[in-house]
Subunit: 446 residues, 2 copies
């Protein structure tokens, strides 16, 4: 089993028998996911995706990625939320946060259309100067404001740089199978397209074309990534509390929530996991943060953040628990040497691998935080590679769905995201929002 769930640093903070007492709820919640009988079950497409995905499309993704790698220096990936975080998280975890700066045979990748900052967008245009550029645009409807604006600007840019036919050959669209403005545009202009499955929400979509095309274009081994998810899918199929760590992790989270913890902090000891933390924050926050409920998802990279958030965790308000994702083997290592004069007093580490020092930092931290009465759930994986990551992604998706059902919410909708969109449309004067515009401007004192 690729993910080992370690509970020894968490269980002492639970009442005797607490885990057993919630096991029935967890199994019921697991059964809702397994049977598709729960709320939002029209969005369970991610559940069996790894085992049943469209091999034809998968091969097409691989072929298209090879074309992009061959003819592109800078790949701009336009998308927001679930159409953005998963791909960026996987690329940065497998390669590095410094992926673009490191020597490589694959294109630089920048993510656009996830904010409305003109400075951020202008920078990306600068970074394209003189480079061979391709675009991947990801949006189910095509009308989400952030990516739509970015695509309008980048499409114009492409037509200034290339002939219409050349530009069309460098623009890839991942959208709804049939409808929407992006689908229409793609048909009209002859862009190559991929599909956002109807039954998979954005935050569960990283293993569909949404995530896989940019990930493959970064030279990440998506076959190994999917294989990890396939094996996890098989391992976590049965809603049996004892045998299924997804259920046990979901149960632990809910138990801590019920005993007054309001924040779950996702922790890693690898800086390259930082965007995976962001992906986790969307997955859990958007799935559970509704009906006035849910754990607030936060994140930290240790040991960096021992020197910033560590003080709060150790001695601050007792409102959080930590979920630590740990990788046994790094991709590379460094053995500490000896120095003759030992001026920095580090010779006691001579011969020790840096990965071991990092592991001792984890052990030291988990014991310190336990002393500070902060429970730690630990998820331990073998190595930092595509297979383990695919497994981990599926583990979290399944655990999140189960956890949401234990909490008593629909883990697959996000009704609260609409309010800001509607307000923004009205304030921007979008046709059809006139009445609400006047009301909002009054609230703003305009």
């Amino acid at each position: 089993m690729a993910v080992e769930l370690i509970t020894r640093y968490a269980e002492e903070f639970l009442a005797e028998g607490a885990l057993e007492s919630i096991s029935g709820e967890a199994e019921q919640a697991g059964a809702l996911v397994a049977d598709g009988e729960g709320e939002g079950s029209a969005f369970l497409g991610w559940r069996d995706l790894p085992c049943g995905y469209d091999r034809g499309e998968f091969d097409d993704i691989l072929r298209t990625a090879r074309k992009i790698i061959a003819d592109t220096d800078v790949l701009i990936v336009i998308g927001v939320g679930g159409s953005y975080l998963g791909a960026r998280a996987v690329v940065e975890f497998v390669h590095s946060q410094h992926y673009n700066a490191l020597p490589k045979k694959t294109p630089d990748i920048y993510f656009a259309g996830n904010s409305l900052s003109p400075d951020a967008l202008n920078e990306l245009l600068t970074l394209c100067d003189g480079k061979r550029v391709s675009l991947i645009v990801i949006s189910k409807s095509g009308t989400t404001t952030e990516p739509a604006i970015a695509f309008r600007i980048f499409r114009k840019y492409m037509l200034e740089r290339y002939t219409p036919q050349e530009a069309a050959g460098r623009i890839y669209i991942t959208t709804d199978r049939e409808k929407g403005t992006l689908r229409r545009l793609a048909v009209q202009e002859g862009y190559k397209t991929f599909v956002v499955p109807e039954d998979i929400g954005g935050r569960y979509s990283v293993l569909t074309a949404v995530g896989l095309l940019p990930i493959a274009a970064a030279g990440v081994d998506i076959c190994a990534l999917m294989q990890g998810a396939v094996d996890a899918c098989a391992a976590y199929r049965e809603p049996c509390f004892e045998a299924n760590p997804c259920l046990r992790y979901a149960a632990l989270r809910n138990l801590f929530y019920r005993t007054g913890k309001s924040v779950e902090m996702f922790v890693s000891y690898e800086p390259s996991f930082a965007m995976m933390n962001e992906w986790l924050k969307q997955l859990f926050g958007e799935s559970e943060g509704k009906d006035g409920k849910g754990l607030f998802p936060a994140s930290a990279i240790y040991s960096t953040d021992n020197h910033s958030l560590g003080q709060f965790v150790q001695e601050g308000s007792p409102i959080l628990f930590e979920t630590v994702v740990l990788f046994d083997k790094p991709k590379t290592d460094i053995v500490m040497g000896v120095e003759e004069d030992d001026g920095d007093e580090l010779n006691y580490l001579a011969g020790v691998e840096m990965s071991q020092i990092n592991y001792k930092a984890f052990q030291g931290t988990v014991l310190a935080h336990n002393t500070g009465k902060v429970p730690n759930v630990v998820l331990r994986l073998d190595r930092k590679d595509e297979y383990n990551l695919g497994w981990l992604i599926y583990f979290f998706e399944k655990a999140c769905a189960v956890s949401g059902y234990i909490l008593g919410v629909n883990p697959f909708d996000q009704p609260g995201v609409e309010q800001y969109k509607k307000n923004m449309f009205a304030l921007l004067g979008k046709p059809g929002y006139e009445a609400s515009k006047r009301e909002l401007e009054k609230k703003l004192g305009l």
Copy 2:
């Protein structure tokens, strides 16, 4: 006044008269900072720093930065916590998160020694290949494990690349004025040094040599940065509730804390503010997270995170309020054009500047979150430049100190950071920690 404190989206969530009722406490806390009579007042050096800093050292920083810019392609800045976050935050805010990738006349800058990941360190070594490299090492004691390990490895690297004399001319040390391993090493090897002031803790040190040298080496105008802080220092001197927004912001934070909010989320609409958010998380989390108290500091970049954390903010557990930092004018802008067929349905925005769209996103979000009963404190600044940033940094430092005193903690110590360090030393077998090693290993089940 460079920072305008807007409370209209927050006050409706307070009881009538709440602000007045806390004003006396805020003024007392402000007086503790002004008079230096509070706990931890040995670390008040940041308070008058902008007005009274060492001009000789400042000029030396400017000269040294010019040398680094002239003879360096890659600058490695080694430091952790407060010796790292401030510099990185300012460089990324003023330039960009893509600073290293953008065309420029200043060196690439990478931050090392803030984690224990061998992969992260090996990557930085790769990025130095064939480049002219300089190091800035920042550590008060010189014995903090993360930067000490990174410096040992990079010092070895420099001696492989350069003669001892050349290497010495490319290594800069910011440390204690007199004592510690780094000071000894610098004297012995003839490294150029700068001083970590004795009376300023790490998280308040960005406007000392700790932050200023790497910031200046990135071509940031540190004169304007300091001028902003100088003017803020003068503007916020008096502990008068009505006239001093630092006190009013500190009061608001404490009021929300007392009414059951446990999380403060720092929000910006500029992706380049992301590391400033991290700096804020250390400043407030480490200053206030003690004695079982304090607001948990979190952060978001909108509108990106509207599509991830937004659902939780709008409809999840009612445990948070937001502090939004808003900049009126971007560095650059983009005017939306017209497209003949309006296939993406964005023509209603034709002629609108993207910065205006971003501003409407703010307005739409603040009203949406108010509807969701989430208070928003807004800090509005004129433009994204060094002057405004220097002002903002001072504003937050002062507000944080005042807020800590209102909360009843010492805002200048961080006793909780020691536990993990001690545990790690013991587990690594550092001489002197033998007894504790056995005890900890027992807890780990070893």
